[in-house]
């Protein structure tokens, strides 16, 4: 067989989507390279089209949408309460923020406010969630930059937080625990003890992370002066959250537009001046410490009382309880609706199957999620289903600044920049 015949049989042709139309894959001095969507350092299915000049990155074009699941559309055909189950699955590293933001928006349209106890528990769970999210960020970011020990340590402590969530909400992630009007269930009796011992552990471990990385020369080599974003650029790209605060802008929605009673807790908004990847690292470490301060204050002042609004037209009727066969419907509640009150049964049936109508209107409710401003633009047409829910996802917006932050750096620094943005593709693509 001659050399010319052998070509067609053995050659592998790779084609994919727009690859044929990406112009000038090889330019005068440049070459265009595909990074992702299957790539260990792109946090899921982020695809970056890199235009390289040797090792230098000239231009980055992020391509997203690989994880699009149509949650916003789906929610339009479900009741208001069912929406929680959807939105908690978007940014899967901070589910409780999604739930809270959505529920706050619905509550604003309804003109109700969840009871104090529910608000305080929301705050505690959200701050634990912020720590868990930042831990995953430190773990995956560390792994991507070669600090594998950080990965094992970060996931180790996150697991403890997820254990707490499981004990209170029944699920490690995607809890659907926060409902319009309050919470699905009250916390257990040992909630406070669990939280306090967990905070003690985390506070101890936090020093370990600092010891490992804060002055680590390799870590600093990879992150200092990498991916600098100034305050003015952050404004232009709409970047919020740790990226904005690392650029020296003191802006935190927990202070600026307090929700869930954040105004009663004493905490600092951490800022850094450098605006590079290293500043984002130190800032997130400090944010975790501030979250613990909030948790301890909220535990000190945790009020008693109901965890759901009194209004029986809105409050989720079902109660959970521990029976002989594990967790399930509370036997006394079942006795009440099945044996004592026909009206309670009707109300239960109507609420569970039809939900409740929400007055027509439009609100934009934002919370400070671990990644920045998480906003829910909720539109109601006055029926028992949302007319439209649009989610302003911080990862989606922050990702736009990738090119600005990483262009001019080496290829390896792209990984550091993407890691410092901390995008969660479930949130980006929704």
């Amino acid at each position: 067989m001659s050399a010319t015949d052998a070509t067609w049989e053995n050659d592998v042709f790779v084609s994919g989507a727009d690859w044929e139309v990406v112009e000038d894959a090889v330019g005068d001095n440049t070459i265009t390279v595909n990074m992702g969507p299957q790539h260990p350092s792109t946090h899921g299915v982020l695809r970056l089209i890199l235009e390289l000049n040797g090792e230098i990155v000239n231009d980055i074009k992020p391509v997203i949408g690989y994880l699009h699941t149509g949650i916003e559309k789906n929610a339009e055909y479900r009741t208001w309460v069912q929406g929680v189950t959807f939105f908690t699955r978007m940014d899967y590293l901070s589910p409780l923020f999604n739930e809270t933001a959505y529920c706050l928006a619905v509550e604003r349209l309804l003109g109700i406010e969840a009871p104090e106890r529910a608000q305080a528990i929301r705050v505690i769970l959200m701050e634990f969630n912020r720590i868990a999210s930042h831990l995953v960020w430190a773990a995956t970011g560390g792994m991507e930059l070669g600090a594998l020990t950080m990965m094992t340590m970060g996931f180790r402590e996150r697991e403890r937080i997820l254990d707490l969530f499981e004990s209170q909400t029944g699920l490690r992630m995607n809890h659907a625990f926060i409902r319009p009007g309050g919470l699905a269930n009250d916390v257990t009796d040992d909630f406070e003890d669990r939280c306090r011992s967990l905070v003690a552990i985390l506070r101890d471990k936090m020093n370990e992370y600092a010891d490992l990385l804060l002055k680590n020369p390799i870590w600093m080599e990879r992150t200092v002066d990498i991916g600098v974003l100034t305050a003015e650029d952050a404004r232009a790209y709409g970047v919020t959250g740790p990226l904005l605060r690392a650029a020296g802008v003191e802006w935190d929605l927990r202070k600026a537009q307090p929700y869930c009673g954040y105004e009663q807790y004493d905490f600092d908004v951490v800022t850094e001046e450098a605006g590079d990847s290293y500043a984002r690292f130190t800032l997130r470490l400090e944010e975790m410490r501030q979250s613990m301060r909030i948790i301890e204050q909220a535990l000190d002042t945790l009020p008693g009382g109901p965890i759901m609004v009194e209004d029986k037209r809105i409050a989720w009727p079902s109660q959970l309880g521990i029976g002989s066969d594990g967790i399930g419907n509370d036997p006394s509640y079942i006795r009440h609706i099945m044996g004592e009150s026909m009206e309670a049964l009707i109300n239960h049936f109507k609420l569970v199957t039809q939900g409740f109508p929400v007055p027509a209107g439009q609100v934009y409710q934002a919370v400070e999620s671990p990644r920045g401003e998480l906003g829910y633009a909720v539109t109601s047409a006055g029926t028992n289903r949302p007319w439209r829910v649009h989610v302003r996802e911080p990862s989606f917006v922050n990702l736009q600044a990738t090119n600005h932050m990483a262009a001019g750096h080496m290829v390896a620094d792209v990984v550091a920049v993407v890691a410092s943005i901390d995008p969660v593709m479930g949130g980006v693509d929704r």
Binding site: H68, R108, Q257, P357, V397, R430
Partner: protein
């Protein structure tokens, strides 16, 4: 940059200032939120005014989203006997797509919604990417989901749906398709918007 975290201008003042500058615009203040309604041709002027006025300084474009209101009769509010809310019908001859811009002022700690309505048959809105670079992906998303053409956008193409996708899925007239069940004795389940879900009974 130090931030005081106090609201330095009330929404009423913002409303008054906007209406002084643009007398023909309608504004709505409810749910602690100010909405300014304007025509597509005005939106750039309004956003520019909100971002440059020294008393407002709403120079952060935080969010940009669309809502589709199709033509036809819509019954709003269906449970008056238990809630006390009125029943009323909204009838539209012309379907519209409403594009909502949320601009935030970090200096004054307020945010304003600017709502633009454009007919859903040929929705066109001028792009604001040159004023706010962050609008790039937001506008692509609204184009992807609602088919709104943003005039002057540098790279208006689909962002979340595949590039060869047909139709704009977030529109209310987008066909959803049904569920074909491959077992005998089961019937075809219609798409959610045609399904007889449990209606609210009074």
């Amino acid at each position: 940059m130090e931030t005081s975290y106090e609201r330095l201008i009330s929404l009423e003042d913002v409303e008054r200032k906007v209406q002084e500058r643009f007398p023909d615009l309608a504004a709505d203040l409810r749910n602690d939120e100010l909405t300014v309604f304007c025509k597509p041709v005005q939106v750039r002027d309004v956003l520019q005014y909100l971002s440059t006025d020294p008393d407002i300084q709403a120079d952060w474009l935080i969010d940009l989203s669309g809502v589709h209101w199709p033509a036809g009769d819509h019954e709003i509010e269906r449970q008056p006997s238990t809630t006390g809310w009125p029943t009323y019908r909204v009838s539209r001859d012309q379907g519209v797509i409403e594009v909502n811009y949320i601009v935030r002022s970090i200096a004054k700690n307020v945010y304003v919604r600017v709502a633009v309505q454009t007919p859903d048959e040929a929705p066109t809105v001028p792009s604001v990417t040159d004023l706010f670079p962050t609008a790039n992906w937001h506008e692509r998303e609204v184009f992807d989901f609602f088919g709104v053409e943003f005039e002057g956008h540098p790279d208006l193409q689909r962002i979340l749906m595949p590039e060869d996708w047909v139709g704009h899925p977030q529109r209310k007239d987008y066909p959803l398709g049904g569920i074909d069940i491959p077992y005998k004795n089961d019937k075809f389940i219609p798409p959610p918007d045609e399904r007889e879900l449990r209606e609210v009974v009074e």
